[in-house]
Amino acid sequence: MIRLENVSKVYRTDRIETLALDHVNLRVEDGEFVSIMGPSGCGKSTLLNLAGLLDAPTKGKIAIDGETLTSYRDRDVASIRNRKIGFVFQTFHLVSDLTVLDNVEIPLLYRDISGRERRKMALAALDRVGLSSRIHHFPSQLSGGQQQRVAVARAIVGRPRNLLADEPTGNLDSQMGGEIMAILEELNRDEKTTVVMVTHDSRFAERTHRVVRLFDGRQVM
């Protein structure tokens, strides 16, 4: 469960202040699949970054799985991100120096898990997204769709209850995008994973339980 209460985010530079989010309230229940839509620059990614504790709100409160955050210091949020949240990015963000298997193991490195157990969990996650045969490949040897599937495997390998996807189909053709969407739906349906997805594609948004629309940093629906 993800809860944002009266959350605002202001970006300040020497000269200007930009209000990226203005008193947004969002409650995503356990097992819900919510999509966030809106024009470019309306604050969708900012909202997702705040929900994923990658950034701190200027005002308001954030709670993950019932735990309200009182501090956004690095050491406090790192462990919550590790245990409770998985991310899928539009540009995949796979580490080019590492193999598929090593990329998927990344979230487990920051837990007290043996190397053998890590490998077992990573193989299971890759099997889940249908990439068991590519574990020793490097990202550059995969298609865009395959890279995003690796990214999904990485996001779910630690079995977080919440999955945040920032335009996961944005860099893929419609067929590959459809495949990724199907995997996210499956995770939501079978594993009861809570999914929050930023998307520009209304076809995919329509397939989610609920659509949240933003405009100029405000929630409009």
């Binding site: 950034d55 690095d74 590790n82 120096d97 837990r111 630690g158």
Partner: protein, 412 residues
């Protein structure tokens, strides 16, 4: 976690071949120079035969004679040492010898240039020479002025074709000596025991040396126990303070010091005269020199690492997003850097071993026996770790402080 970091570090280094090559080149070059310098210092200051008991030996190698119109600073004379170093409480043995001089020898129809050192009989008991033939000359030989000599194996080879030299005569500096012993070569870097042939002081052509306060002599004091060194030094200072120079009208005060080997070098290379030798300061300067020498290549590697922050921004963002704390990232990047510098250290070790072997074979440093050992290995590992930390900490800290959103915005 450390195992994962190591695995990752090796993967990154293997994948980024150009970066690895450039970095390793700089690291290996720097560490090679420092390892060679360490080997040289080890060769000079380590307790190896004949100066096996280095921790118990004090040297008196310098004296400063002050007068109203004159200041003489240099090697002490026999007279000064005879009056100041004999029967010091806590001393097991005392020896006096010359610093050594070059003489010409005509042996077997050929002209040889040899380094000759005049010593007393105690010299052979304070130092631990490795005799290949015969033995040392004695206190009695010295007292009687017997023309006997100990030669090194190089002189045996040159003068006698490498065959047994005992009982044979060698001519040096216009005097003929009967060979009573042959020792293994001593490297020129160990300047106190070094010579090609050693003869008794009693064979000096003139007896003038006996009263001189300034000359070309030195003394070694072997303490019963290393803990006695401070009290021996104090007693030596007290004696020197009461000494009267042979010509008190010219010389009004005398300053000298009984020093450890490091302190003797400090006394010669650092400014200042008198009783205090700045051994600690010399050691500090050597460490500072090593750090400064490392600073430039370390800054260079630091710069390469910093420039890679942008290249690795995406990775940093991903790791943070998936739960890496700043501390974990500092650990990861530091391990990467230390692995790189340790690999550089291994290369430096191999290159240094080869270079030392070449120096030994070249004869550039007479009788040099440079070699790598555990002390140098320990120093090398320490140097590599310091280098790794110097060049890695700041970039690792900068990388770890990167904001995850900012990092993820950049695409590698």
């Amino acid at each position: 976690m450390l195992r994962s970091y190591l695995k990752l570090a090796i993967k990154v280094l293997l994948r980024r071949k150009f970066y690895t090559f450039i970095s390793l080149f700089g690291i290996a070059f720097t560490l090679t120079v420092l390892t060679l310098a360490t080997a040289l210092l080890d060769h000079v200051f380590s307790p190896v035969p004949p100066e096996r008991h280095l921790d118990r030996i004090l040297y008196v190698k310098q004296v400063t004679l002050h007068g109203e119109h004159i200041t003489l600073r240099g090697s002490p004379g026999f007279g000064f040492l005879d009056a100041s170093v004999r029967n010091l409480p806590g001393a097991a043995r005392v020896t006096i010898c010359t610093r050594g001089s070059d003489v010409v020898s005509y042996s077997g129809g050929q002209k040889l240039r040899l380094s000759l050192k005049r010593t007393d009989g105690e010299f052979w008991k304070v130092l631990d020479f490795d005799f290949l033939e015969g033995g040392p000359f004695t206190v009695e030989d010295d007292r009687a002025g017997n023309r006997v000599a100990v030669i090194n194996e190089a002189t045996r080879r040159q003068a006698f074709g490498g065959v047994a030299a005992l009982g044979k005569t060698i001519e040096a500096g216009g005097q003929a000596f009967r060979v009573v012993g042959v020792v293994k070569n001593v490297p020129i870097i160990r300047d106190v025991p070094f010579a090609d042939l050693w003869v008794p002081i009693g064979t000096e052509p003139s007896a003038d040396y006996k009263s001189q306060f300034s000359g070309s002599y030195l003394a070694m004091i072997l303490a019963k126990d290393a803990r006695d060194l401070p009290s021996i030094k104090s007693e030596f200072d007290a004696r020197v303070a009461t000494l009267k120079a042979p010509d008190p009208k010219e010389i009004t005060s005398i300053a000298s010091g009984a020093d450890t080997l490091v302190e003797t070098v400090a006394r010669e290379v650092l400014p200042g005269t008198g009783r205090d030798a700045h051994g600690g300061l010399l050691e500090a300067l050597l460490v500072l020199g090593a750090v400064l020498f490392m600073a430039l290549p370390a800054l260079n590697l630091m710069n390469i690492n910093l420039s890679r922050i942008l290249e690795r921004a995406s990775e940093i963002g991903v790791r943070k997003a998936f739960g890496a704390s700043s501390r974990a990232l500092v650990g990861q990047f530091l391990v990467e850097n230390v692995v790189l510098t340790l690999v550089g250290g291994v290369i430096a070790w191999l290159v240094s071993a080869g270079a030392l072997r070449s120096i030994n074979l070249s004869g550039l440093v007479p009788y040099a026996d440079f070699h790598m050992n555990l002390r140098i290995l320990a120093a090398g590992v320490l140097l590599a770790l310091v280098f790794g930390a110097l060049s890695g900490i700041y970039p690792a800290w900068r990388m770890s402080r990167m904001h995850p959103v900012e990092a993820l915005r950049r695409r590698a």
